[in-house]
Symmetry: C2
Subunit: 542 residues, 2 copies
Amino acid sequence: MTDRTSSLPPSPPRPDSAPARSWWGWGALDQALPDAECASLAALVPGAAGSPLPIPSIASLDLPAVRVSAPAALAHLVSSAPADRAAHTYGKAFRDVVRALYGDMAAAPDLVARPQDERDVVDLLDWAAGADVAVVPYGAGSSVVGGVEYRAGEQSGVLSLDLSGLDRVLEIDRISRAARIQAGVLGPDLESQLRPHGLTLRHFPQSFAFSTLGGWLATRAGGHYATLHTHIDDLVKSLRVVTPSGVSQSLRVPGSGAGPSPDRLFLGSEGTLGIITEAWMRLQDRPSHKASASVVFERFPAAVEAVRAIAQSGLHPANCRLLDPGEAALSGVAAGGGSVLVLGVESAYGPVEGRLAELVALARDHGGSPVEEASGDGDSAAGTWRSAFLRMPYLRDGLARMSVISETFETACTWDRFPALYEAVHRDVGAAVQKVTGTAGLINCRFTHVYPDGPAPYFTVIAPGRHGAEVAMWDEIKAAAMEVLGEQGATVTHHHAVGRDHRPGYDRQRPEPFALALRAAKQALDPAGILNPGVLFDAATA
Amino acid sequence: MTDRTSSLPPSPPRPDSAPARSWWGWGALDQALPDAECASLAALVPGAAGSPLPIPSIASLDLPAVRVSAPAALAHLVSSAPADRAAHTYGKAFRDVVRALYGDMAAAPDLVARPQDERDVVDLLDWAAGADVAVVPYGAGSSVVGGVEYRAGEQSGVLSLDLSGLDRVLEIDRISRAARIQAGVLGPDLESQLRPHGLTLRHFPQSFAFSTLGGWLATRAGGHYATLHTHIDDLVKSLRVVTPSGVSQSLRVPGSGAGPSPDRLFLGSEGTLGIITEAWMRLQDRPSHKASASVVFERFPAAVEAVRAIAQSGLHPANCRLLDPGEAALSGVAAGGGSVLVLGVESAYGPVEGRLAELVALARDHGGSPVEEASGDGDSAAGTWRSAFLRMPYLRDGLARMSVISETFETACTWDRFPALYEAVHRDVGAAVQKVTGTAGLINCRFTHVYPDGPAPYFTVIAPGRHGAEVAMWDEIKAAAMEVLGEQGATVTHHHAVGRDHRPGYDRQRPEPFALALRAAKQALDPAGILNPGVLFDAATA
């Protein structure tokens, strides 16, 4: 630490005004859809019927008996309260929400720990390793891949390690535009601590409000921006990780060619190799110039070609979100079978209208028709999209209460393979939806990120489910999706991580020599095998 | 492989017109300085004297006896000819060249193998593992950190594995702008195979003409460009690696969040975990628009601030090379104590003059004075610099023949730490030069790469050495440099890699839990410990 950086005084205690969090569904409790809205939303889905599943009370839940207890010295950090255990049982996938609604709490952790500093994390790991207690790291629980749900069953107990107490920006280096940040901070709290310094991490995944820096790092999160440095991987300078074999602190430098990157081993390790407690992150000046535009295409293949040209142009749009006809219709952005491309450009340095014009020209060259912007703030298309985007998980929960299957899967592939992938998904996942639900359902696609060498397509599936069978139905559709991604040479996940749900596709995709090396690294760092058993590795491996 | 990619027919045999390579020094034999030029160059160094060291003939070299022989099935791939062994003994650091000139061949490999395909690599590794023969991967031998020099001494023999036979571009995906390329291809051969397709890898390290794709990948090479995607790490889509425990092939996708990146384990592994045989690489359209400018600053600190502003502007110059007063004077770019900033902008998409003007304006805001360009080709400042840059290793060899210490070291640090680092290097390395050589010598600095969070400073040291003591003298100066980098929180290497020479600084910098994990991975992939012993790991670790 040099005198050019400033260590920050402790923040005042956070006011208790943050809205209460839902234990069973997404986000804030007061944002959940009322029963009537659930029903009217489901009425738009052909084949859906019935009335909303009731939300069980915590008191009514049948939680398994607590099998372990923390030693006296750690007791003040640990809770076995039913509300804590219930809220830490699942992530926020469709199958998680449905199981919570049905009161299925078999996977509940015995204890929830809330360390207040790194020493607490070390002490909790020491105790867990000695007591054969599995440790499931928990940021804000937004996993949609079973990343925070213990399923292995071999340990004597399960501790959910909730890192939300580590929520401070500790140090800011304004000159190098970087900050040392605790891993448990939620997106909005992080940004509010950076704002007085005119800086931003500028990492906005859809889960932003209910996910943490540590979770983003452990799962290699993708941000909202379509191109350039959007992955959290690219924003990291150094990591501090508590492992059962010691604390790992990498050097804070802008670039280093000294051997394989230590940080890249922990990025994506999903809590299996250690607990990320702090990171030095690259920050940016807050963008002062923004502009956006929408372009409609009659033909989806032409839109794909336009996006490829843009992705390969070096113009680096902040947004480049292509909605296929189904997705455009569902979002209410375009009717009549058109595809919509939302473009956005941002800069903290200077005007961006010229760059936006170049991007729109490229889209026009490929047959796109720019849509006139009504608003004058230069950000309306992106803004409209963003509001809808952030509202989606709440709508998903409303549909889940109506037994409507509403879920997503995502991937990335090279441009040469995308047309075949798109067709195969509609054919094979479509067949699975038809078989499982007896309806065609909806299978929509958008690009969340685009690279010079390929897009990251994100698929949404909506179809009526049957009361009590929702999870099994989705699992069958998801298995078909994982199969088709593997067949088409696309990754099993672009930014949702592996968790437990993606293990079949991941195990197939991961090169076997790399798996050997990773298992050996796991054994070296976590010899007792307590860290998030079942994620990335078989529980028995550790 | 899909029908959107094209597999290429085998290239015709390469004409024998490539200039003969120097076995003792840098590059092409016919580019070495004549004796008279060596002497007149050394005359510019205060304290240097004498006549050039003679270049020993291969026949005069005292090579150690060959201890092992390959089995009959592999004999056609293997040579024990003195010329082969001598040329594969060292890399191309100052200390390597000097030792070669003195005929010190104690480290010579027993054998040099030239596999022609991946099967050959597998067979050679199988034999070596069974016969306790160390394998030192060799691309074109441009290491300046002892990366290709066997020093461990525990194995029964040493095989230099020369991958130059794997020199083809195998497949091109024009749509996704990518190619599958064999690892042993030299820079110019790679570009000449891509050129007919209008594509380029656009990775131009200083060693470009005499280094290979596999070497760049194994050592995490830095390219010529100052910002954005200049590291080879960022240009990789997937790797194929032969390890003693099997062949690792990662999935070719533009992005994946499926666990820790397999490629990132092998990038920077410097031949200790496996032999990279192929990679899918991201390509670019060849830039059609270029512009460059030079800006002079009276005060170096002001120039540093200008570069920081540029690095943080998001304007992404292709070149942003700052020369401190000593470096500018040495290059003949500016006299009188000024610092020089060379800026360049490139695009395959559209005109770049506007962006260059913005960059120059930023430099001017910080006190810089733009220099009028004489040439009209828009590329003269960068071009002049580039020619001198590529000539430098030959000049270094000329000085080495005059016992003049002429060597570099490089690093990266955050902006907040750079002023203290710059001062400490001049103080502490300056003191070492004074102590060792009895003269002040020259210690110059330039930035090779700049990031929003810090620069990559590259230091050149020139001082008179004493006949017979050159290596020991440099080693003492280098030890001081490694010490000061560690103290100042700068990396031991930004793009020269670790090899054997940087082990002390690397061992201090590498977090211990990561070292545990990496050693375990090494043990899993290379159980016999034959791969490049002494690099990254103690030879005994394996």
